[in-house]
């Protein structure tokens, strides 16, 4: 547990000092939403209808940007070997790194999302659902992304490759995330959608650390 907290604290300190990962994620998120505003012509009613989907897709792409960096620095400077030699299970270390990664890049997206919702004319009634759905959905994205990041360690063109591997696996989260956000607009019950998102999160929480740790082991070996 001490290692778990130490990894999170260390990674967050690094992310805070560098700031680049958080900035690129949020910057990309806002810029992409801005481009959609231009691309769709700024018609308020059209934007309002598309807003939930647009926010989810851009958030999903933005959360993917920094994935490549999740293990790369530790892999290059050898601290990953150090992590593997400790008594703590590697799965726990993966979970800690994913948690830190989510706090550094996922949480800022959730904070920025309502602002983008305003830009895209998302009705105010959907903001609660959007935030809840993102809170449940983005950790799943990070956990799945951890598998992709571990698999592509040391690969050529790792950044492009990671998107090819991870995006198909993101589809369920996208479907239910948008459904939860849109359900709150039409007045339909959003509980079931949110529960499905929660279910994906729990499943990813249980399985993804093992898959990512296995991937790390075969990368370092």
């Amino acid at each position: 547990m001490a290692i778990f907290c130490a990894i999170i604290a260390n990674d967050l300190r690094l992310a805070w000092r560098r700031g680049a990962d958080t900035l690129t994620a949020v910057g990309f998120f806002v810029l992409a939403a801005l481009l959609f505003g231009f691309g769709l012509g700024g018609d308020p009613s059209l934007l309002a209808r598309a807003a939930a989907g647009l926010i989810w897709v851009t958030a999903l792409l933005a959360s993917m940007l920094a994935l490549e960096r999740m293990f790369a620095a530790d892999f290059e400077d050898g601290s990953l070997d150090g992590l593997m030699m400790t008594d703590a299970p590697l799965e726990l270390a993966v979970l800690a790194k994913a948690t830190a990664h989510w706090i550094a890049t996922g949480l800022p997206l959730i904070v920025a999302a309502p602002g983008i919702g305003l830009m895209l004319n998302l009705p105010a009634s959907a903001f609660t659902a959007l935030t809840l759905a993102l809170l449940l959905g983005t950790p799943t994205l990070t956990l799945i992304g951890a598998i992709g990041a571990a698999l592509t360690l040391g690969a050529r063109r790792g950044g492009v490759l990671i998107s090819l591997l991870v995006l198909p696996l993101y589809i369920p989260v996208l479907i239910f995330g948008v459904a939860a956000t849109e359900a709150s607009l039409s007045g339909a019950a959003m509980d079931a959608r949110l529960m499905a998102l929660g279910g994906f999160f729990l499943a990813a929480l249980a399985l993804a650390p093992f898959a990512a740790a296995a991937a790390l082991r075969q990368a370092v070996r």
Binding site: A155, P168, P172, I175, A179, Q218
Partner: protein, 241 residues
């Protein structure tokens, strides 16, 4: 049992003789199946002759899923027993599966154009097959992305297992999503009972596709073994000189 097959020469002694039989079954079943499908089986009362696309489309869809299962099973064997040839089989099956998936998509689009009047609908099955194609492409790309060959193999084997767990989840989410967007009237729910005059050519074609897949699989495994042997000989030759 698996270790017994880890010797490439022994592996090919057992599976090599199967190759001509696979070709024979593929050609025979495919030939008879095609004749039955194109000339003997009746045209659909609604779709006319375009229903004959089914005899290519449905078997390739089965093979698209079957090939992924083959990849997942052999990846598991390769990871658990560190079986070198299982990696080779999984690697050889990936492009074949991608090919079947592409055939399934293309014939599906042609069929869709004639029977639904559109090339593409955001239907659950179409979309999930497209996702499957991307899973295949991811496997192939990941395998080729490393300078160290065995590293790529191990990474792709892991990805195959992750994808295998995810395929049902993706499939059900996409189905749930498609029923939200449009009524499920496009594809006949439950499926009508199929008449024997159409069922027989379909099954024959499925057998032909399976035999064809097996033949290509054995062929590419043999090619890979030969390539490794050539590499080893080359290295050994350099060492001697």
């Amino acid at each position: 049992m698996f270790n017994f097959l880890a010797n490439p020469a022994r592996f090919m002694r057992i599976f090599g003789p199967l190759l001509p039989w696979c070709w024979a079954v593929a050609i025979l079943a495919g030939g008879i199946g095609l004749v039955l499908a194109l000339f003997v089986s009746p045209a659909d009362y609604q779709q006319g002759d375009s229903v004959r696309i089914m005899y290519i489309h449905v078997p390739s869809a089965w093979m698209a899923l079957g090939a992924y299962t083959v990849i997942a099973v052999f990846s598991a064997i390769a990871l658990v027993w560190k079986h070198p040839l299982a990696h080779v089989v999984a690697e050889a099956a990936a492009p074949l599966g991608a090919g079947f998936t592409a055939i399934c998509l293309v014939t599906g689009m042609l069929w869709g154009k004639t029977s639904w009047g559109t090339w593409w609908v955001w239907d659950a099955r179409l979309t999930s097959v497209l996702v499957l194609l991307f899973l295949y492409l991811g496997l192939i790309a990941l395998r080729g992305a490393f300078d160290d060959e065995s590293r790529g193999q191990r990474a792709a084997a892991l990805l195959a297992l992750v994808g295998f767990v995810n395929i049902p989840i993706i499939k059900f989410s996409v189905e749930w999503w498609a029923t939200l967007h449009q009524p499920a009237s496009v594809l006949r729910a439950g499926g009508p009972a199929i008449h024997p005059s159409m069922l027989w050519p379909l099954l024959l074609m499925a057998v032909a596709f399976m035999a064809y897949f097996a033949a290509l699989l054995i062929l590419s495994v043999r090619a890979e073994i030969a390539r490794r042997k050539a590499d080893a000989l080359l290295v050994a030759g350099r060492r001697q000189s």
